[in-house]
Amino acid sequence: MRSSLFLVICLIVGGAIFGAALALNNDYYFFAGYVVLQYVVLATAWNILGGYCGYVNFGSAAFFALGAYSTVAVHKLYPLPIPLLVIVGGIVSGIVGFGMGYLTLRLRGAFFAIATLALAVVLQTLIVNWDFVGGSRGAYIVRPEAIWPFGSYIKYLFVVMMLLAIGAITVARVIERSRLGYGFATIRDDELAAEASGVPTLRLKLIATTISGALMGMAGAPFPYYIGFLQPSSAFGLDYAVNSIAMPLIGGTTSWVGPLVGAVLLGSLQQLATVTISSAVNLLIVGLLLVGFVIVAPNGIIGLVQKFIGHRPVGQVGRRRIEADAKEHVP
């Protein structure tokens, strides 16, 4: 399927979901839907680095918070419209992602993972000590009551996040089917062999960290408007870090479908559990599901479905194509 066609289909589906939420005529669905869509962006972004390249980022919350806090900082100076804030948040997080990658990706993979863990702690320290954005007290962002033509402001935020989610999925799908994606897959499968065959692994990894970080920052940028009052502990919440890892791993890491499925399922489950049980218990559910899935079903839900249908796991598109090429060339 062509990418432009894919984008159109995504937009139609997105529009249909928005219409359905409108028809239900209850703002709660927009509030809940916003969170799920936010997780779709985070999970997809994480998967570009984690699933395609095989490098684990534990600092999703840090990139997310960077986006959120760049919004707060810009808002203090001059209140820009949200789409511009999203771009600013993306640029800031992308630069930090690039810097982190540059320092750690030349070493073994585990160092990158550890450095991202530490990054979350340090950025939180910086934000707590930075009074301009509210420090440990937090910062208020007054959300306008209504905005034309959406009626309530949450509908507008929902649409922004929906477009971001569609954008993220499209980017992931394009990467997956491009030379870039094949390059990422070689890094995941055997980095040494890839390097030896002339794949510019460091450059590819830096591209992946930058795109992934930028998308996470973009997901965080509208967050202050959503929550109204931003505190370091809510922006750096552990639930972002764990969810953006758990969702792709539970859904399946090798294609864009996995994070989407994982985010929609887990995100909705958590919204349900938060309302019916408690928010601590729903985090426990996520943790248990994550551990259970990585042990029992390493290829996630997508892998299980494919096993059931009898297909090969996705993400081996490249291998399939190579095998097909090989067959053609056999006399």
Partner: protein, 291 residues
């Protein structure tokens, strides 16, 4: 900021003492990450678990927290050996340790924390022991016993670990696993068994470190997260798996953190270890006493 000699000396001494404790916290990671190449980011969670066990027994039976933690080491050893077995069968054997193995430990970290929150809430817990109140004064130098005692026991524990690693058959086999598994197999030693033992020891050390932690400061379930960056920074700085290197690195981090806290304010201290980590990775990835 007025520079004060008293403050400086006090900060350095408390940094050395805290550093000895950091070394005990890191020793387990030096074993698992440094020697066995298992990126056990859940190690701080096991330390918090150790703290809570020391707390429960201390509150209900009034036993000394450090004694409790020594008594709890066999249980932690079994826990560690069990976790390694799961890790080996599910990830190492299938060659998936880099992505899913990491996620597995992250999940463990997370589950431990949430379960502790659900049972004990987010209140700070503390223990009672005769050495927790008093402070020794030497001129202008103050040494609180609640820090001195854990530091000394920490150093003792690391000395014992180092002796075990260099003098006993099992210890030497653990060092050998890091270098050449195949050679170890040819010597008729099962590398998986050795790794299981080593990982068990690593988790057992978390029991002690947990007791030290709750003696030094009150503990709540998410305290462990602050230690992740610190522990790995020290491990990398010390040279991945070298216990003497770990002690030196831990004291260095302890001193710099303590100086930062004294002269710039405690809210900046967490940034120190990260600075160390990035600096080490950028300048000398092999660490101070690298293999």
């Amino acid at each position: 900021m007025v520079f004060s000699f008293d403050l400086l000396i006090n900060a350095i001494i408390s940094g050395i003492l805290i550093g000895a404790f950091y070394a005990a916290v890191t020793a387990g990671v030096s074993l698992s990450f440094g020697i066995l190449d298992i990126v056990n980011i859940a190690h701080p969670a096991f330390i918090i678990l150790g703290s809570y066990i020391a707390y429960i027994v201390n509150v209900s039976l009034g036993l000394d927290p450090i004694l409790v933690s020594i008594l709890a080491t066999p249980a932690f050893y079994v826990l560690g050996a069990g976790i390694y077995q799961i890790y080996y069968v599910s990830f190492e054997k299938r060659g998936q340790e880099s992505l899913r193995g990491l996620a597995f430990f992250f999940g463990l970290l997370f589950i431990t924390e949430v379960v502790l929150v659900l049972y004990f809430g987010v209140d700070y817990r503390y223990v009672e022991a005769p050495y927790i109140g008093p402070t020794w004064h030497f001129g202008f130098v103050d040494i609180p016993l609640r820090i001195l005692v854990p530091s000394l026991v920490s150093l003792l524990m690391i000395a014992v670990l180092q002796l075990v690693l260099t003098r006993t058959f099992i210890g030497r086999a653990i060092m050998a696993v890091a270098q050449d598994q195949l050679a170890l197999k040819l010597m008729a030693v099962d590398p998986i068994r050795i790794k299981r033992i080593a990982f068990g020891i690593s988790i057992a050390s978390a029991s002690l470190a947990g007791a030290f932690l709750i003696v030094i400061q009150p503990v709540e379930p998410s305290v462990g997260r602050e230690y992740i960056g610190r522990v790995f920074a020290i491990c990398v700085l010390g040279g991945m798996g070298s216990l003497p290197g770990t002690v030196i690195a831990a004291m260095l981090v302890g001193i710099v953190e303590s100086l930062t806290a004294t002269f710039y304010g405690p809210s900046w201290a967490p940034a120190v270890s990260f600075g160390f980590l990035l600096l080490t990775l950028a300048v000398r990835p092999a660490g101070l006493l690298g293999r």
